[in-house]
Amino acid sequence: MLNDPSISTAIGLILEKSLNTALRYDPATRVKLQTLNSKIVKLSCHSPNIELTFFITDEEIRVSAIDDANDADVIISGEASEFLSLLGQSTYSLSDLNIEISGKVSLLNQIQTILSDVEIDWEEPLTEILGVVPGHALAESLRSSFSWVKKQSNSVKQAIPELLTEELRAVPSETELNHFYQEVDQLSSASQRIDARIQRIKQTLVTKQI
C-alpha cells in the first residue's frame, strides 16, 4: 500500500501546488528561478519507494510522480526518514545524513539559496486536492500539530538546560559561565598589565646601566 502510485502522486501534487502558490506571490524569487529554467531534479526515496521529478520552468516548478526523466541534472536519494529529518530545519548539512547526491551538486545549492526565503502555506493545495471541507480540516489539524510540535520543542529546549544546570548540576549555568568568562578576562588583563610593568622595569634598568 505504501508503494501505491497514488501516494507519490499526492505528495507530488501537494509539493507542486505549495511551491507554485508561494512563488506566485513572490515575483523576486520567480525571477531568480528563471536562471534555472529547464533544470531537472530527481528525488528518489526508499522505504517507501517514492520517485519525484522536479521540472523547473520559467514560471513554475512542475512535480511529476512518473519516472520518465532520464536526463536529471541532479539526483538525490535516501531513506524517507532521512528526508523527513530535513523538514522544519532552517539550516542543515546533507553530509550529516545518509543521503546520496549525484550530478550537479552546485545546482542544489543554487536552489536552496533561491528558495530559502519562500514561505509555504499548505492550506490552498490541500483544499484543491481534497476539497474545501476535508482540505481545510486537514490543514487545521496540521497547523495545530505543527504548533504543538513547536511548543513542545520550545518547552524541551527550555527544560533541558534547566535540568542539566539546576537539577543535575551536570553543567554550569549561563550566569556562572559568564562570571567565569569575566574572571578569565580580568586575569588576562591583569597578566598583560604585569607583563607591561615588567617590560617597563626592564627598560628602566637597561637605561640606568648605560
Binding site: D4, P5, T9, L13, I66, L130, G131
Partner: protein
C-alpha cells in the same frame, strides 16, 4: 428476454437498448452535485487518481486529446493547459446535463480557445480515423453498454502510436481492504448520496456498477482483443482504482 439482448445495470439485468437511458437518468440526477459528491465519496482521492492519469498520458504541447465521459471537465482543464495554443482538447460526454455542467465550469475558469465540447457516445465516436494523440476515459467505461465496441471505436480515432488511458474503479487486491471497501460502498455511500444529493438509488447503482465492471486482468485482455498493444495497468489505492494504458500499433 434472451441473454444476448440483455446487459447489467448495476445488479439488475436490463435490455441492452434500455441501459443507456437508465444510465442517463442517473447522471441527469447527480450532475449538479457531481463534484462535491466525488470529493466526499473519495475523500478527495479522485483528484489524485486523475492527476496520475494525466501524468501517465504524457500529453505534450501541440497534442490532440479526447476526454471521453469528461463530465465536469477535471481532466480536460489540465489537458487544455498542457497542449497549449497549438493543441486541441475535445471534452465528450454522452450526457447533456454533465456536459453543460462541465462546459459552464470550464468557461467560468477561463479555460477556452483550445477546447471544444461534443455530446458523443463512446461506442460510436463521431470523429475521423487517426485523429487523436491521446484518449482518456475516466470513470466512464463501466457505464458503457458495449465496452468492446467502445474500445474498438477509441482505437479507430486514435493516431498510430496514440495512447488510451482508462481510469476506472477496479478490484482491491487485499481481501481485508476489499471487505471494508464493500461495507463502505453498500452501506455508507448510498447514505451520503441521500444526504447530499437526495438520491440514494443513483449511488447504490454506482456501487453495484463498480462490482459488475471487469477486474484489472479482464479489462487488460479486452484492450488486447480490441487491438491495443503494450497494454498494462497501474493499481491505485490498493486496487480500488486502476489505470489501464495501451497504444494503437
Amino acid at each position: 428476454m434472451s441473454e444476448k439482448n440483455t446487459t447489467h445495470f448495476g445488479y439488475e439485468q436490463v435490455n441492452t437498448d434500455e441501459k443507456a437511458g437508465r444510465v442517463a437518468g442517473v447522471f441527469h440526477s447527480v450532475a449538479a452535485k457531481y463534484d462535491i459528491m466525488n470529493d466526499l465519496m473519495s475523500a478527495g482521492a479522485h483528484r489524485i487518481w486523475k492527476r496520475f492519469t494525466i501524468e501517465l498520458s504524457g500529453v505534450r504541447p501541440g497534442n490532440t486529446v479526447l476526454d471521453i465521459a469528461g463530465g465536469t471537465g477535471d481532466l480536460s482543464r489540465k489537458f487544455s493547459e498542457l497542449v497549449g495554443d497549438k493543441g486541441r482538447v475535445v471534452l465528450a460526454d454522452i450526457n447533456d446535463s454533465m456536459l453543460n455542467v462541465g462546459r459552464d465550469k470550464l468557461t467560468d475558469l477561463g479555460v477556452a480557445g483550445n477546447i471544444s465540447f461534443a455530446q458523443a457516445d463512446a461506442q460510436y465516436l463521431p470523429f475521423p480515423d487517426n485523429t487523436f494523440d491521446c484518449i482518456t476515459i475516466a470513470f466512464g467505461l463501466r457505464n458503457v453498454t458495449d465496452k468492446d465496441l467502445a474500445l474498438r471505436s477509441m482505437l479507430r480515432v486514435l493516431k498510430p502510436g496514440g495512447r488510451l488511458l482508462v481510469l476506472e474503479f477496479s478490484k482491491p487486491s487485499n481481501p481485508l481492504f476489499a471487505k471494508i471497501y464493500d461495507t463502505y460502498s453498500f452501506s455508507i455511500l448510498p447514505k451520503i448520496g441521500k444526504l447530499i444529493a437526495n438520491d440514494e438509488d443513483s449511488y447504490r447503482y454506482l456501487a453495484e456498477s463498480i462490482r459488475m465492471h471487469p477486474d484489472q486482468e479482464t479489462l487488460k485482455s479486452m484492450m488486447d482483443n480490441a487491438g491495443f498493444s503494450q497494454t498494462k495497468y497501474y493499481n491505485m489505492t490498493g486496487g480500488a482504482v486502476a489505470v489501464h494504458k495501451g497504444y494503437k500499433p
